[in-house]
Symmetry: D4
Subunit: 247 residues, 8 copies
Amino acid sequence: MNPEDIRQLLEGVKKGKVPIDAAVERLKTLPFEDIGFATLDHHRSLRKGFPEVIWGEGKTSSQITMIIKKMLNKNYPVLVTRVDARKAACIKKSIPNITYHPLSRTLTSGKIPKTEKGTILVVSAGTSDIPVAEEALITATIMGNKVDHLYDVGVAGIHRLFEKKDKLLSASVLIVVAGMEGALPSVIGGLVDKPVIAVPTSIGYGTGFGGIAALLSMLNTCASGIAVVNIDNGFGAGYIASLINRV
Amino acid sequence: MNPEDIRQLLEGVKKGKVPIDAAVERLKTLPFEDIGFATLDHHRSLRKGFPEVIWGEGKTSSQITMIIKKMLNKNYPVLVTRVDARKAACIKKSIPNITYHPLSRTLTSGKIPKTEKGTILVVSAGTSDIPVAEEALITATIMGNKVDHLYDVGVAGIHRLFEKKDKLLSASVLIVVAGMEGALPSVIGGLVDKPVIAVPTSIGYGTGFGGIAALLSMLNTCASGIAVVNIDNGFGAGYIASLINRV
Amino acid sequence: MNPEDIRQLLEGVKKGKVPIDAAVERLKTLPFEDIGFATLDHHRSLRKGFPEVIWGEGKTSSQITMIIKKMLNKNYPVLVTRVDARKAACIKKSIPNITYHPLSRTLTSGKIPKTEKGTILVVSAGTSDIPVAEEALITATIMGNKVDHLYDVGVAGIHRLFEKKDKLLSASVLIVVAGMEGALPSVIGGLVDKPVIAVPTSIGYGTGFGGIAALLSMLNTCASGIAVVNIDNGFGAGYIASLINRV
Amino acid sequence: MNPEDIRQLLEGVKKGKVPIDAAVERLKTLPFEDIGFATLDHHRSLRKGFPEVIWGEGKTSSQITMIIKKMLNKNYPVLVTRVDARKAACIKKSIPNITYHPLSRTLTSGKIPKTEKGTILVVSAGTSDIPVAEEALITATIMGNKVDHLYDVGVAGIHRLFEKKDKLLSASVLIVVAGMEGALPSVIGGLVDKPVIAVPTSIGYGTGFGGIAALLSMLNTCASGIAVVNIDNGFGAGYIASLINRV
Amino acid sequence: MNPEDIRQLLEGVKKGKVPIDAAVERLKTLPFEDIGFATLDHHRSLRKGFPEVIWGEGKTSSQITMIIKKMLNKNYPVLVTRVDARKAACIKKSIPNITYHPLSRTLTSGKIPKTEKGTILVVSAGTSDIPVAEEALITATIMGNKVDHLYDVGVAGIHRLFEKKDKLLSASVLIVVAGMEGALPSVIGGLVDKPVIAVPTSIGYGTGFGGIAALLSMLNTCASGIAVVNIDNGFGAGYIASLINRV
Amino acid sequence: MNPEDIRQLLEGVKKGKVPIDAAVERLKTLPFEDIGFATLDHHRSLRKGFPEVIWGEGKTSSQITMIIKKMLNKNYPVLVTRVDARKAACIKKSIPNITYHPLSRTLTSGKIPKTEKGTILVVSAGTSDIPVAEEALITATIMGNKVDHLYDVGVAGIHRLFEKKDKLLSASVLIVVAGMEGALPSVIGGLVDKPVIAVPTSIGYGTGFGGIAALLSMLNTCASGIAVVNIDNGFGAGYIASLINRV
Amino acid sequence: MNPEDIRQLLEGVKKGKVPIDAAVERLKTLPFEDIGFATLDHHRSLRKGFPEVIWGEGKTSSQITMIIKKMLNKNYPVLVTRVDARKAACIKKSIPNITYHPLSRTLTSGKIPKTEKGTILVVSAGTSDIPVAEEALITATIMGNKVDHLYDVGVAGIHRLFEKKDKLLSASVLIVVAGMEGALPSVIGGLVDKPVIAVPTSIGYGTGFGGIAALLSMLNTCASGIAVVNIDNGFGAGYIASLINRV
Amino acid sequence: MNPEDIRQLLEGVKKGKVPIDAAVERLKTLPFEDIGFATLDHHRSLRKGFPEVIWGEGKTSSQITMIIKKMLNKNYPVLVTRVDARKAACIKKSIPNITYHPLSRTLTSGKIPKTEKGTILVVSAGTSDIPVAEEALITATIMGNKVDHLYDVGVAGIHRLFEKKDKLLSASVLIVVAGMEGALPSVIGGLVDKPVIAVPTSIGYGTGFGGIAALLSMLNTCASGIAVVNIDNGFGAGYIASLINRV
């Protein structure tokens, strides 16, 4: 409700077309409607193809089914993360058209208009990092981006990375997923001049501390142009990469 | 040096126009020139107005002076971070045209072509966070961005933030700087639909652990669209925000 | 036993009404009776409607049943925390009148006199924080308080919080429960001028460290009027909020 | 601005007494005025005698002087924390009527209406904890509370504590300040039935970790009715204790 | 083998009574026999009634059975720690005379000569700490000490402790076992003038960090005369208390 | 005041020899006198030659001087720890008879009756650990023990330790002081059958974490008969070793 | 591809023997072939008997079977780590000639040429450390080394170690595996003048922190000539020891 | 003293050539001489050119001077680490022939026989890591190795590293020194097939935690053939690299 809307309402009051009680009622909620700008905007985003994301962990398959159905009724695209195969099978019995992506353990559904922006490239250091990488990839896909990926190109065999320089150089945004020592984003950040979103994974053992070693590596990178999301947070990386790709 | 270049060189060799020794010399360094694609690209960036950044901490004023002079000779823009007032005064004796920004403790110099892209908005939670915020602001400025700022709008008096909704909503990229509990990026991330780069600061005491509390807060945000850089790393935030603004 | 009591005992001794042996016996335990002031006072509290709380975790259902029965015999109100549904069913077989609250995983029983004091408002950031919030709510309820709640109003969609400003402003004491980045108490602490008890929850993953991130956030709040209890300690928050509401 | 205010404004518009432009202007800022409820309420608190608190650390004496003068002009009570003796002397040259409390390193000024509520008792474990205890005491005093204290009654000589049971039992709210192993709040929490605000201090060495040992002790207390503030945060404890004493 | 022994051996060589080969053989192992003083002494201890202790965790019941049998053959007393009820039942099938202590999860067997030294008193803060306390008690018992115990006398109800002052004051060595905030050793250390061995337990949740909070509390005690063993190390406490009781 | 004392007092009252007011006054303080048993006992200890210990760090030389004088007036032995040479010189101007021990940075004074008990042996791993070792030695000395020491016998050159086996084996109690990896107590604990008090020191760098590495080493020792005090807590080790030597 | 190769290729082009297209193709991949020097070298190593190592944890038995078969086809030696007995049995059904080592939980296969270099000695502190020690031993064996071992010679009974001085002194490289306090590498490092690779294990409890205590001990060793690998990383130790043995 | 020596001594005794007293004296110290095998061997090493290393930090210049003189008298080579320029100047006044290396802050003196073994290559990631790298280099040099270095080749500009592949591939042992994210050893470990000793440095800020981030990176490396020494421990790296180079 912008100033022009308010002016028209007031003119309606002045001219007697709008009863005072109705105008009071309308204006009384103004603060929250207006504060709700983010929300409205967010809803607008949703209509433009952004998913309402459901965190599947800790929810039963029937709870998830119920939420998905409510969203599908409104024609929203759907993204459910952290769903294991057993739950997914359960949910698909009620909602057969939904797609399960076993690698990323996600469920997706709904129409997503493609944009003609640049490509988001998802890179992973090891094969064990792929589930998190795929969560980022699926998120970026459902948010309407062109995506590509480059897996198992960790720093211990760095020639594998260099063989793919074209992919690296042609991406608009890069998501780099790595566990263990988490060095890959630093190397890639030194090669490209695009924003790199680094995702530490909980892959490793001993002093890997469930991803802390990789996280610290990424925060302390000597390369410029890198920012970090939480451990294993593939969705978060895919989401901010999509926002960046729309800037 | 792309395949076409190689082909022309080889044809030069075949036709006797290029002596074999010269071609060997040219090709011998091919790997590193080519691997150096990032470097060349980086150099190109520099010529487009990106600064060669000098970390001033732990360097003497004469060391800094020497590096700056070398860069100015090549007409590079210059950004020196973490320079205290005393060192800056020393350096200005030898290089009077350089500008010292006391709030961000940075030195800058050189011509920077402005771009006509969106605005990078730097937000800080408290007044004590301003030095880090200013380092981000100066970095984004010298990298050719339109910038704006919004300081002292922490979550403990959240109405101060809401009064500035226009600034928040019109930015292309947001840098949000906060110490103590580091909650501001989460609140802003819930209001806008643009990428937010969060910068924890070492401001606080006791269990703030020199910025760890703020860092953890930002990594664990319940809002989407947020990525994090290292504690007090204003420069890093300004740099990736600039890369994002160019996407 | 105050000085007047001692004087009367001594006069009884002097007058020969109290045999010396009886007086010695009476005085011999004086220190501990007296040190026991807290205990007596505590017992008084219990008679005024405060529960003897039983920590259910690590106890078998038959152990819990035995303790409850002993307390019910004395007409004490009963609160058992951390009881899963299976144990609760077991216990209800022996004690059918006890009530199980599945959300908070608590068992309660007994008559609790209501007070006419202010309202304790329990606020939770996410739906996953509700079990801890409910433990606080049940505790405050059985301790004789008016209670209300406001769930799922986290900082990432802060308009949901503002729509409920009446509830926030009319509470006497607020319990604010949040996991992940734990920012909600800071925002609420900036809005109200009543004491806020913050409860970090172990909800989250990666660098949430089982609630440490939220705990640090709350300890380092930039808002005034906030104190913190242990991670997931809904009972502790409900208990101190009740003490505060009786001040 | 409540619904009745809006109705009157609209009637003014309808009757032509209020020009539409003026009404638009008035209504346009409505959201933020209204969101600002907390602020207004906060300001009201200030007028009722609550200090605007200034964190003195990291500010120069001239900066502090400037802020104090601005506050004194509005007749606000003033509390400045973390001011060393040298700075205080400097400030007193410009503002002679301000009082410096060397133990708590605070400056205070202004009239504070006393309330007739219960007493806030500040207890400290060791003599080294007194500066933090005094910061709490001064804060509670300037916020209009009756205060009392009990210093150097740590658990290693627990009879010193028991000799003062009257003070302990007659307080409305207790602030318990302890470094090292931080056990005192647990002992006191077991003796009284009033809310206890525990303040860990950075006193100690080795594995005290600058107050972490005491903080963990307090968070993990086996006593009920205890909540904790940040390490060395005497001000925070005094503030929430004051809010509690007003409930 | 002292110098006198060597001299006699040499004289035997000189006089031809000891063949050179035999003397070489005897002297060749001298270093290790001598270094082995600890071992011999250790064996002596064993013969005096000290158990060879077996850490049961991670060993199968048949492995444990085999080791016990080997020790029983040599008439050694036996102590096996960390044995669950199922394993114990298994072992008792082969070795019926061994005793299982379910509270401490230990197995014991063999003759132990009693000493007429002072009493080792084992104190525990909560009922959940009893398993660790019992491990200490059983260890001290099998090592030939008079033992006594005092359970569930935590600091939150400190009068329970004071009622037992006679036990506290008459012990020669005290083992104090506590989880959560671990404050009990500090209080007891302030009451008695005997050595106190403090044992933190992993009892608690959230920021108890599996016993770290209690450990730090005990290391940072403001009382004198306290030393600490590892978390849940009841055996270690019982062992050193026994050494102390023999001094 | 034991039951017999009470009986006599009561008989005095009965016979009219003791006025009731006087008896009330006497009995009123009974709890605290009695609770004070530890205190009285502690005072008795002091008269038997135990020092009242003063922690010198953070106290001015005039504050320390004042406390010492008060103690000397009562003929107490005096031990002041953590006093640097400058402060000590200052104090000696007022109290010339006090002795300063520069290695341990302690001041001692007063008569101490020697006991004929066993020897306390203080062992240190490196030369840098000697100040902490000396603090333990001085403490044990002033508390009336025979003491001996063995310095610079760390595990990296373990033959230095074995050359002194007689000292190791003849001690009643051992205090073992070590920084860096803190392995020495484990080795010694495997050689002797007497209680070992381990003292980690903050000597080392990098991941020594100011003594944490040594502390963890000592807590996790595979040897039996070892307990640990706080980092650099030479006094605490000397104190408990003295209590042990008196058992 | 060295300069001489390039020269010959160019001469081929000049003389018309090499078509330009073929030369372009050849030179286009030059950078990566050349960067690939490590890879080629690595492959060469493999052919010389170095295993391609497969991390078995988190892989299904059919995945592992597939990878092994592919490697056996190329006649590579095979090493699979972290394979439990159940998986191993499964794999052996398809590949009967592979050997399962239950202690180290490894599978090995293939011909390995022995070298005539020095011996790698694997030492373990406790019996619980043997699985990690065996992983190191198997790795060093399959990489063509002479190996020997010395188990259960922890510092708490150090004479067991000294009895084996010949083994210690005759090794070329030592791998020392220890959990708990991790002191064994320091003692051995002080005895030998050969490189020692220290492996912390996750054996222990409480403050062992899953191997952190042992790791810190080893990093902070006062002995020279010691370097450390990750917790439980037997393979890593065996691998670098093999590289050292080939120097 | 081997069995043959003993036999000869005994025969001397038998034949009366060696008096019994002299033989007793000789044999009495046998254990320690023999245990001292490490020591003797160590002394032998010293005579072969290995330095007796002096840790200069925390020692006064006169203390260092005294130790150096004692060593020079025995013609030992000398290495003093952690000596600042001021101390060094002081020491050189008394011992003019000693050499100060300002970059590594070391003093060296004495004759060192060169070996004809392979080269130790010291690599550093950044210019700030050079002091630690130089400490390693100086150590390896004085221990008689051929050394080379490669500085400022961090992963953010990885082409700088590749340009030096010849140096990398021709080294026998590599020492890789890196702060910040510590990724360089992983990259180099993937390129070479020689042992890599990784040295984390305390270079960096914020979450670098004084070298912890780099240390964790190195421990969790995905490359094989890497072991790690303590933070900033250039000497330790140089020492073990020298032992490796002698294998």
